[in-house]
């Protein structure tokens, strides 16, 4: 069953700034959708329109078939977890979680029951009488989630909920959020600028660029078949090597002189892409091209090698290679590489569409 | 950008009390002052006649008004400078001491709570020529103190009484300013071999300049508008006009001299000055608010 539908939803701010031209998205019940994109691309704007904290300029938002555009946030049956948690500093953990239920006129003992259930689920039982300032970052994060969960809403909204935590806690909370969501089965819309977080959490991802949804799909769809160079660069770490190239009868010309054979009907300027992990070390005779090594990052389990495609002009494009295990090649030496054709990604340079 | 509530009528309801009181007790009187300034009223308020700018012309051709401006300036700057110097000295000393800082602060700030009129009464009696201990002591030291007759002495008296009350305020802000000076800067200067006095004048005092400027403005405003009680309780503007500040003159001409038109014209002039200061302060406050 389709739970949330955004139909040609657009946003123009009162100052005239056109933050979101038009986004279409339908979310299935129980699905975990992640909105991902660089800072300022309009993720929060979109989420806040769903929440009712920003008005919807154009288009329609429906939750379970009901039009929501004109409804107050409190009447949409949604709950939101904020980046800075937004816990009421003068209330105890218990009161923070109970406040929304009290405002809805729920009976006291029912509230107590719900809060203690959720607190138990999140391991907050011991902390119910504390004030937010007496909690650690991770605990505050949990309280913020608890406050959303007690309401038992149709939709959870998260706006970068983990960005104030340290790296280790972030990973831990990420796992926890995913587990909780599976258990509760609540439809979720989650905003982040961190593509790793996005990939690991999402059933489906929406990649936003300047207010436009560049691509919507499962993490593997986006990894294997990015629709645009933007998505290709954004998904995956380190990011895909994207080189300006030309498609001719002979094949693809990169760095002006190197040609990789390919027969393809398209002609003209393209973007040629290959992920760092898909480049293989080879030898002088079997290689497609050579890389002049400029820097080596050894991470133990893997090694990232930065270099330039070797050309006669010395003006070759920069590329990154990812090898598993430790490697210690000399700086300035040449590295022969093979780029298997099944891993190539071709995009039209003008329309930016995948070929 | 703050989040707002969508209600349209409610904000007016919320603002109503403040707007009503402002309209009745601020705007209406201000409008009346403006009106009166252009009319001549007889002493019984029975008839009045439009005289245009005549009240203002009278005002600005009256040497007493210029004298009052001068008195106000002398008085205000004396209060500001004396008060700030003494307070700075005390604040520097209090910042130096390690023990008893809070006790010193407590014992220095309480005069803030004393009403200006009461401050005036207390100092007036200390300086009373026939029985005041200070006046008698001055007499024995050869100074013939009589602020009932000597205008400059009257001025000194009101300056002392006004300053006394304001030292606590200046002291608190200077102390806060001093405590905000980074320790590392002073330590660096000490390592460079600067003596305590040199350190103060070359490092600390320049860093205090925002506080100093702020206090200068506050003190001038205080001396302008809030010292009515001091003057009224001690000298009543005399002897002659020697301690009649602009604000005191508005009252004196209006209620004692019953020159309503002249008093209103003075009110209008003062409101103009106030309006100007308001605009300046508004800019200042807006800038402060921006980054919050």
């Amino acid at each position: 069953m389709t739970d949330v539908i955004l139909e040609k939803v657009g946003k123009t701010y009162p100052n005239g700034y056109h933050a979101i031209p038009s986004v279409d998205l339908s979310i299935e019940e129980g699905e975990f959708i992640v909105l991902v994109g660089p800072s300022g691309c309009g993720k929060s704007t979109l989420l806040r329109m769903v929440a009712g904290l920003e008005s919807i300029s154009t288009g329609e938002l429906r939750i379970r078939g009901e039009r929501m555009n004109e409804k107050e946030p409190a009447d949409r049956d949604i709950a939101m977890v904020f980046q800075n948690y937004a816990l009421y500093p003068h209330m105890t953990v218990y009161d923070n979680m109970a406040y929304g239920l009290k405002n809805r006129g729920m009976a006291k003992d029912l509230i107590a029951e719900k809060v203690s259930d959720v607190a138990a689920m999140l391991g907050l039982t011991e902390l119910l009488q504390r004030k937010p300032r007496q909690l650690s970052g991770g605990q505050r994060q949990r309280v913020a989630m608890g406050r959303a969960m007690v309401r038992d809403p149709k939709v959870f909204l998260f706006d970068e909920p983990l960005s104030n935590l340290d790296a280790k806690l972030r990973v831990q909370m990420r796992v926890e959020i995913r587990q909780l969501q599976r258990k509760l089965g609540t439809t979720t819309l989650y905003v982040t600028h961190d593509q790793v977080e996005a990939m690991t959490l999402a059933d489906r991802l929406v990649v936003l660029n300047k207010g436009k949804a560049e691509q919507i799909g499962t993490p593997m769809d986006l990894y294997n078949k990015p629709a645009t160079p933007f998505v290709a660069a954004f998904i995956g770490s380190p990011s895909m090597n994207l080189l300006d190239a030309h498609l001719t009868e002979q094949g693809i010309t990169v760095s002006d002189e190197l040609t990789l054979p390919l027969s393809h009907p398209h002609r003209g300027a393209i973007v040629w892409g290959i992920r760092p992990e898909h480049l293989d070390v080879s030898d002088e005779h079997n290689a497609d091209f050579a890389l002049r090594i400029q820097a080596v990052e050894s991470l133990g389990a893997e090694t990232l090698i930065h270099g330039k495609v070797e050309t006669t002009s010395g003006q070759g494009d920069a590329m990154v290679v990812r090898l598993s295990g430790p490697h210690l090649p000399d700086i300035n030496s040449l590295m022969w590489l093979k780029a298997p054709a099944q891993y190539w990604h071709l995009f039209d340079a003008v329309t930016q569409q995948r070929l | 950008m703050t989040v707002t509530f969508p209600q349209k009528g409610l904000p007016w309801l919320l603002l109503l009390p403040q707007l009503l009181i402002t309209a009745i007790f601020f705007l209406w009187p201000a409008e009346q002052a403006l009106e009166q300034a252009f009319y001549q009223e007889d002493a019984f308020g029975l008839s009045r006649e439009f005289i245009g700018l005549e009240n203002f012309a009278d005002l600005f051709s009256n040497p007493l008004y210029y004298q009052s401006i001068l008195t106000t300036l002398v008085f205000s700057f004396s209060v500001a400078i004396v008060g700030m110097s003494v307070a700075l000295l005390l604040a520097v000393m209090a910042d130096r001491v390690i023990r008893g800082k809070l006790a010193y602060q407590t014992l220095l700030i309480w005069p803030y709570a004393v009403a200006p009129a009461l401050a005036g009464v207390l100092w007036w009696i200390l300086f009373d020529p026939s029985m005041g201990p200070i006046a008698l002591w001055l007499k024995s030291a050869g100074v013939d103190w009589n602020h009932y007759l000597d205008g400059s002495q009257a001025m000194i008296l009101v300056v002392i009484a006004s300053t006394w009350k304001q030292i606590s305020y200046n002291f608190l802000f200077f102390l806060a300013g001093l405590q905000a000076v980074p320790r590392s800067l002073i330590e660096a200067a000490a390592i460079d071999g600067a003596s305590p006095f040199k350190r103060f004048w070359t490092i600390v005092f320049p860093l205090l300049s925002p506080t100093t400027f702020f206090l200068l403005v506050v003190n001038l405003v205080y001396a302008f508008f809030e010292t009515f009680g001091v003057i009224d309780a001690t000298t009543k503007g005399g002897p002659g006009q020697s301690t009649t500040t602009l604000v005191y003159k508005v009252f004196d001409d209006g209620f004692v001299g019953l020159d309503l038109g002249g008093s209103a014209a003075q009110s209008v002039v003062l409101m103009g000055i106030v309006g100007l200061m308001t605009v300046i302060q508004f800019r200042f406050i807006e800038r402060k608010v921006q980054y919050s």
Binding site: - | L15, P17, I98, A113, L122, F228
Partner: protein, 282 residues
């Protein structure tokens, strides 16, 4: 301290103690004077050490009548002062909270104009436009009334600004969270905003109480009936007795009693007082 210079430390303490002594001098003198009978002042000087008429004088002004033509006792005027001070304080806080709330959390036409109108009152002290204000209050028949004593003084831009600043510093996310929790404007005001502004309100309370208690010119003008005399202004009435007959001991005792409540507030709530001063720095 960076270096150890005992003489400098000594100078510091000496300066501070001198300062404290000078600041306290007038109050000391008043205290001493109030312990002597009225006749002690006729002889050309004020006594410099305590006399033995203290209990009498203080008892008389507090419970009998303040003297020098003021026929009500000090405790009665204290009550009036308290009513005026609290009226002004609560009134100012209430209307400023409401208007700051309107200005920060709502969008409506002429919002900036309202802001400006309120701002004008910041710099229009009553002393500046004393004559027409008096006339307005007289026209409204508010002379000799508690309403007349308090109402004209409770519009305050300073308090409105302070609360505006305080509200602006409340994170937007908190407001949004409250809205998602179903809190309407009133609920938000009482459940979230007021508790979060508690210390600001308390600090302002201290400053405004002092302001209200110390009002002088306004009560002096609009009260002619002893029933509404406030303590601070009664001094002026006491001093207007013809010179020779002034009972200085009574005046001194009344003066001390008039400064006692606000001074006690400053010393007792020093922390809030300092915060209030710093916050309301215009």
């Amino acid at each position: 301290m960076i270096e150890n210079r005992p003489w400098l430390t000594f100078v510091s303490h000496a300066t501070l103690l001198t300062g404290i002594a000078l600041v306290a001098l007038p109050v000391w003198m008043a205290l001493v004077a109030s312990t002597h009978p009225a006749s002690a002042f006729g002889v050309g000087h004020i006594p410099l050490w305590f006399g033995d008429a203290g209990a009498e004088t203080w008892g008389a002004v507090l419970f009998d009548k303040a003297g020098n033509g003021v026929d009500v006792p000090v405790w009665f005027m204290m009550l009036n002062s308290l009513i005026m001070a609290l009226g002004i304080t609560f009134g100012k806080i209430a209307i400023s909270l409401l208007s700051a709330y309107a200005i920060v959390f709502f969008r409506f036409p002429f919002r900036n104009l309202c802001f400006w109108i309120i701002f004008m009152t910041l710099m229009l002290p009553v002393e500046v436009r004393i004559v027409p204000t008096y006339e307005v209050v007289a026209n409204l028949d508010l002379l000799n009334s508690y309403t007349g004593l308090t109402l004209p003084l409770i519009a305050s831009a300073t308090a409105t600004f302070l609360f505006r600043q305080c509200f602006l510093s409340i994170p937007g996310e908190l407001v949004e969270a409250a809205r998602m929790d179903g809190a309407g404007p009133w609920r938000f005001f009482f459940d979230i905003l007021l508790p979060l502004s508690r210390t600001n309100i308390a600090a302002l309370f201290v400053i405004l109480f002092i302001y209200g208690w110390n009002q002088y010119l306004w009560p002096l003008l609009i009260t002619t009936d002893d029933a509404y005399y406030t303590l601070v202004m009664s001094i002026k009435r006491m001093l207007s007795v013809t010179d020779g007959d002034i009972a200085w001991n009574q005046i001194m005792a009344t003066t001390l009693l008039a400064m006692l409540p606000p001074v006690a507030v400053v010393i007792g709530m020093q922390k809030l007082f300092v915060k209030g001063l710093v916050d309301s720095e215009k």
